[in-house]
């Protein structure tokens, strides 16, 4: 298994490397779950002041999609995709510090939750404006194409965000230029309180790919194995110049829209139904079928994730606040080249 704060290794085809890879995915998924549960708790304890959007229940998606990614690939996560940061090897302590607004966080306290991004790990800090990150991911893919780099850009978005005009503009142009970009829709059936059928008149967001001249895929977002198998195949094809792809992952949001939301607009039965499709036991069952001693593994990993998360919390809590005046920093980058004159004609 990889280091706790190391990025998941790219998917090896088979053998013991494959086994290690599969176990690492399990570890990653568990780490995300543990991390997010702790975040929710910290929010209840008023230790995280900003909005907290839990991806609990959707871990298989970020895990499975990010698994085949390489250094230099570009990812624009959704507001619920804290897991992307962990999967790509961002230090959990810095991530926790980010959520608390500390100086050691990704944005140095400037912004909250996931808006900090971490370009060193190829993670774009999306704005709050849903859908607006898709054009950006397309621009990253355009850069890869122009420069002939074998990288891909991945843009996550919700089925709610799919209604934004930016999503259309981005997908259309990606289709025209056959850009190396993968659009990943996490369809969790709700956008805040708004159910699917008020958001769109069709069943699958993936069907929209046809409107842009590329392929759409539907997969169970709660089945890590299925997501990984699909994403390995699709990302490989996109990387090799096959043009864009749209992957729709059917899933469900366990918690409220944000931690403030009791989600009373939802049916209890629905939640029970979906919790019974939880990605973690499902993947454990797979590992068991593969002959692993899942009990022992679970125990060991629970211990490990607990430690990692606790260390992250400790790091974040012990980190200093940013200096008040640092609010005026980081607005502008220095110019690349000095200007040659004072602007007076010589």
């Amino acid at each position: 298994m990889g280091e706790p704060d190391g990025a998941a290794p790219a998917s090896p085809a088979e053998g013991s490397a494959r086994i290690e890879y599969e176990l690492n995915l399990y570890f990653q998924m568990k780490l995300i779950r543990a991390f997010e549960e702790r975040v929710s708790r910290l929010h209840r304890q008023n230790k995280i002041l900003g909005g907290v959007y839990s991806g609990t229940g959707q871990e298989a998606i970020v895990t499975g999609i990010c698994a085949p990614l390489r250094d230099g690939d570009f990812v624009a996560p959704l507001h619920r995709d804290l897991g992307v940061f962990l999967m790509r090897g961002v230090d959990p302590g810095r991530l926790m510090a980010q959520l608390m607004g500390k100086e050691t966080g990704l944005s140095r306290g400037k912004d909250s939750f996931l808006h900090g991004g971490d370009l060193e790990h190829g993670i774009f800090g999306s704005t709050s404006m849903l859908g607006s990150s898709l054009p950006v991911a397309v621009g990253a893919a355009l850069k890869f194409q122009i420069r002939g780099e074998k990288h891909v850009a991945v843009a996550f978005f919700g089925e709610g965000a799919s209604s934004r005009g930016d999503v259309h503009e981005a997908m259309n142009f990606a289709g025209v230029r056959k850009l190396p970009v993968i659009f990943v829709c996490e369809n969790n059936r709700y956008a805040y309180s708004t159910p699917l059928e008020k958001q769109m008149a069709i069943e699958n967001v993936a069907d929209r790919a046809a409107a842009y001249g590329f392929r759409g895929h539907v997969v169970s977002g709660n089945d890590l194995l299925a997501v990984v198998q699909l994403s390995e195949r699709v990302i490989e094809r996109v990387r090799e110049g096959g043009g864009p792809a749209l992957i729709e992952c059917k899933t469900y949001r366990y918690r409220g829209h944000s931690e403030h939301d009791p989600a009373l607009y939802r049916d209890k039965d629905e939640l029970i139904e979906w919790e019974s499709r939880d990605p973690i036991p499902r993947y454990e069952f797979y590992l068991e079928k593969r002959g692993h001693d899942i009990r022992a593994i679970r125990e060991q990993i629970d211990e490990r994730t607990r430690r990692i998360v606790q260390e992250a919390v400790d790091f974040a809590e012990n980190s200093p606040w940013p200096a008040p005046e640092s609010a005026m920093e980081d607005l502008y980058a220095p110019s690349m080249l000095p200007s040659s004159s004072n602007g007076k004609r010589q």
Binding site: D111, T127, G131, S163, G165, P324, E325
Partner: protein
């Protein structure tokens, strides 16, 4: 009955929808949820799905559809879930709505209200704290209001709904549950375009609106007590059109003007107000026109920075003192 700022808005919506069948609501999560802040609570039950409509996440469409319905005689009240997202509907507001009557040669109207919860001080960070009002105060054809009290929140929303034009209604989300006021029974409105003198004074004038009104009043109380200063406080209430008469009257009266808003100093409406005064009340001025507002940066998340950035009564007191001593 004493009601919060939030309840005042909710009441206005209920009453106007009852009064006029053409009034209806569109926005994200406004129906069953009653809105992210519960501003539209109860409306679905009272008026049904045809008049309280949950919309997809499509800000441009929400405003554009509001325009289409408004042209045909409806009076839509659309909601931006947070005012920050208004940038996604920018073209529809400044191009389609603002020019509508003009480009139809006066033979069309667009009675549309766009409600936007705005403002900072609630740990909202860059994208849930914005004060976008000054983007719109430079656009003819629009009206822009920003109530600071429950009374004005209710009265201005009613006027906005009854107005024949696109009105941007910025409600400050920090005020939702933090201020209360006893409202009169029965229908009342607050006219658009009329500022309100919140406090009379003779040494110095503060011109403000929205989220900083109470900070200004606090500051005025402090300097009255501690420095014996008599401060006049003018609440603009409407930002487009500005109440130039009221602005000039207070400037001429005290000769010293401090403009305060939560919006950033640079590019906030304070510049426009200062320019109006510097152009039209120059002879009455006894001191530089000063501005206090958010620092010229984004609304950072971390509390020490948020505190650094935002105006507060201490910073206002300081500015009053330096101006008084001029």
């Amino acid at each position: 009955m004493e009601v919060t700022y939030l309840t005042a808005i909710n009441q206005a919506l209920h009453e106007e929808m009852r009064r006029d069948e053409s009034v209806f609501i569109m926005g994200e999560d406004v129906a069953e949820l009653g809105g992210a802040f519960k501003v539209t609570e109860g409306l679905l039950d009272a008026f049904g799905e045809n008049r309280v409509i949950d919309m997809p996440i499509s800000e441009s469409l929400i405003v554009g559809a509001g325009i289409g319905a408004a042209i045909l005689g409806m009076r839509p009240v659309v909601e931006m879930q947070f005012s920050d997202f208004i940038a996604c509907a920018f073209d529809q507001i400044v191009n389609t709505a603002a020019t509508l009557r003009y480009r139809h040669g006066g033979r069309a109207a667009c009675p549309l209200v766009i409600r936007s919860p705005s403002g900072a001080g609630v740990h909202g960070a860059l994208f849930h704290s914005q004060n976008p009002e000054a983007w719109f105060t430079r656009v003819p054809g629009l009206k822009v209001v920003a109530p600071a009290t429950p009374y004005d929140a209710k009265g201005l929303l009613k006027s906005a709904i009854r107005d024949g034009n696109p009105v941007l209604y910025f409600e400050h989300k920090r005020l939702y549950r933090s201020i209360k006021e006893d409202l009169p029974e029965g229908d009342f409105t607050v006219p658009i375009g009329v500022a309100e003198l919140r406090q009379s004074g003779k040494d110095l004038s503060i011109i403000t609106y929205g989220g900083t009104l109470n900070q200004c009043l606090d500051a005025a109380r402090i300097v009255e007590k501690e420095d014996g200063l008599s401060v006049e406080v003018l609440d603009l209430r409407t930002l487009l059109p500005l109440d130039r008469e009221a602005i000039l009257a207070t400037a001429r009266k005290t000769g010293k003007v401090l403009i305060v808003h939560e919006d950033r100093v640079t590019g906030g409406i304070g510049g426009e107000v200062a320019a109006i005064i510097a152009e039209n009340a120059f002879d009455s001025l006894d001191a530089p026109i000063r501005r206090v507002g958010a620092a010229d940066t984004h609304l950072a998340f971390s509390p020490p920075m948020e505190e650094f950035i935002l105006p507060n009564s201490n910073k206002i007191v300081e500015a009053i003192r330096s101006l008084a001593a001029y």
